[in-house]
Symmetry: C2
Subunit: 335 residues, 2 copies
């Protein structure tokens, strides 16, 4: 529950994942929500072979709820019950298209952090003009950052991209106002100094706003304030284009015709800018596997979140993060 189209899109997404996995992977689905509603919708939709259980969680944390307060007051919400279920070992991952802040805070508070991680973070893939997307980290979890956080974001992002996209030595850039080492605010200057000598990632230096979509780096590191604004601005581009075209189209019959002719082409070109293809963002750095989806997640997006969760588990991303960051902190302690 909590997503804009819950529980239907969640159920349909799980069914899509079940179908995709058929014959290759066995996944048990656990649905949290008002039990009666879920059982009714599931029995009407789920294939007979699909294995699932339902856990009653009658409360819903809405998009309007203040995360910290809601986590305290709504103990029987899908988010609190689901994350606790995961923490207690009854589930290998937790997925939600609900209130992002609540999932993030809940994940951090209830699951705790991986050893060596100062702050869990949310990373998001951006489309690029190249063949691979670019991971921007952090996109809103930490609005005030210390240089060390940014350093850790780089290490976590690098491991994630390496394991999920199969890029051998992901290029990690620091989002900044210029390419030169001397550029940036105090945070960026200090983070640069930490990152430049790191053996835990392939740091390629500063990268600018215009480089994100161009795919200049595989991982772009920034504080969550900047990253969140960048994410929302980037997401708005497609919408702006749509409005501009509609506007233009409405001005004359000829305009209408020429826009109509280009729509199929535009659709195909811009498909790669469709965020639902990326299916949710990981909460990196927590002791668990948490995938956060957009409130408007379609069944396809939910399906992709399930696939992503299995990848994060199978490729032991959390263990790799712990190995990388706890060894760094150890060597810091020795030095």
């Amino acid at each position: 529950m909590g997503g804009d189209f819950a529980p239907l899109n969640e159920i349909e997404g799980a069914i899509l994942a079940f179908r995709q996995f058929a014959g290759t992977k066995e996944v048990d689905f656990i649905f949290f929500g008002p039990e009666e509603l879920l059982r009714k919708e599931l029995s009407a939709r789920a294939p007979k072979e699909m294995r699932y259980t339902v856990v009653d969680a009658p409360e819903v944390i809405t998009m309007k709820d203040e995360p910290a307060a809601a986590l305290r007051s709504k103990k029987n919400s899908t988010i609190v019950r689901g994350i606790n279920y995961h923490r207690d070992g009854h589930a290998d991952a937790f997925l939600s298209a609900g209130n992002t802040g609540a999932v993030m805070s809940g994940g951090t508070l209830l699951l705790g952090r991986i050893r060596g991680v100062s702050r869990p973070t949310i990373a998001s893939f951006f489309p690029t003009t190249g063949t691979q997307p670019c991971l921007v980290v952090d996109v809103g979890a930490n609005v005030d950052c210390k240089p060390k956080f940014l350093y850790e974001f780089g290490v976590m992002g690098s491991i994630y991209v390496n394991q999920i996209l199969g890029i051998r030595s992901p290029k990690v850039g620091l989002l900044n106002v210029g390419e030169e080492e001397s550029k940036g605010n105090t945070l960026a200057l200090e983070a640069f100094a930490l990152m430049r000598t790191s053996a835990a990632m392939n740091f390629v230096g500063n990268t600018e706003g215009r480089d994100i979509f161009m795919g200049a780096c595989d991982v772009v590191v920034c504080d969550g304030f900047t990253g969140n604004i960048v994410l929302k601005l980037a997401e708005s581009f497609i919408n702006v284009l749509r409005i501009k075209l509609k506007d233009f189209s409405s001005r004359s019959f000829f305009n209408k015709l020429s826009v109509a002719l280009m729509i199929p082409t535009m659709r195909r070109v811009l498909k790669e800018f469709d965020y639902q293809e990326y299916g949710g963002v990981p909460l990196l750095g927590v002791n668990g596997v948490v995938i956060i989806g957009h409130g408007k997640s379609s069944p396809l997006a939910i399906k992709n979140m399930v696939v992503r969760a299995t990848e994060v588990i199978e490729r032991q991303i959390n263990k790799r993060i712990e190995d990388a960051l706890s060894s760094i902190n150890q060597s810091e302690g020795e030095g």
Copy 2:
């Protein structure tokens, strides 16, 4: 000099401005650069009636020069000589498509600040889906900001938009990660507290990355680190679209045809996203009128910079800023 196509685009732009002003406004142009070169190009191009003088400035601060060092070492550069000429009262405004950092630092150091201004700032218009552009301030002048700077950016931006676009009570928003008052990093939270009670601007609260292009506000205030990244990301969008279309087009003959058919429409639709139409950004808060152009400024962009400079002078924007900010500082002192 200093612009990518100097001095030709500068000269052609001045000629365009002269033609546009013909019969309504008399402007004396002063060109700074290698005297012989300028005289040659000008005598070959300028209409007989156009009034201009040439001031010899044989040195050029290039795009690669470090601004502070270049300002010290190149006293005979077009930027240093031009700004000094303006400071000494021989010119009413200074315009350059050269090294932005050098023009900004030179403007601040040589002209000084308007009374009541803590930090001069650079503001830039963004296209919107509405009828008016949105002014984002700061877009790179101040990468580390105090809350008070953001407050002043709001006041200066508001006056600028009011005078240049004729919007009576411009809506000023604070760029943030959410609309609620409780959202944001430390800087945004403190700036919000300062701005919310201000009588010097129409503060409408927090605004998000997605709202910029939607024209939700007339002025969007942020620190120069965030603003610079937002500006460069936004500018890259058209380029990304171009590359995507080219890519798609190259895949088959049918694709090529359908892209070719849509190009004229796309051009017209996206014309409004063409940054050269806005013709340069003002360095707000200095004791003078300084307009900074993109290095790639076309003659049209240069012409628009000249028009903009005359507007800033005629509408007494600096005096209005001084009145607004010095009175605030006074009332703070009294209170």
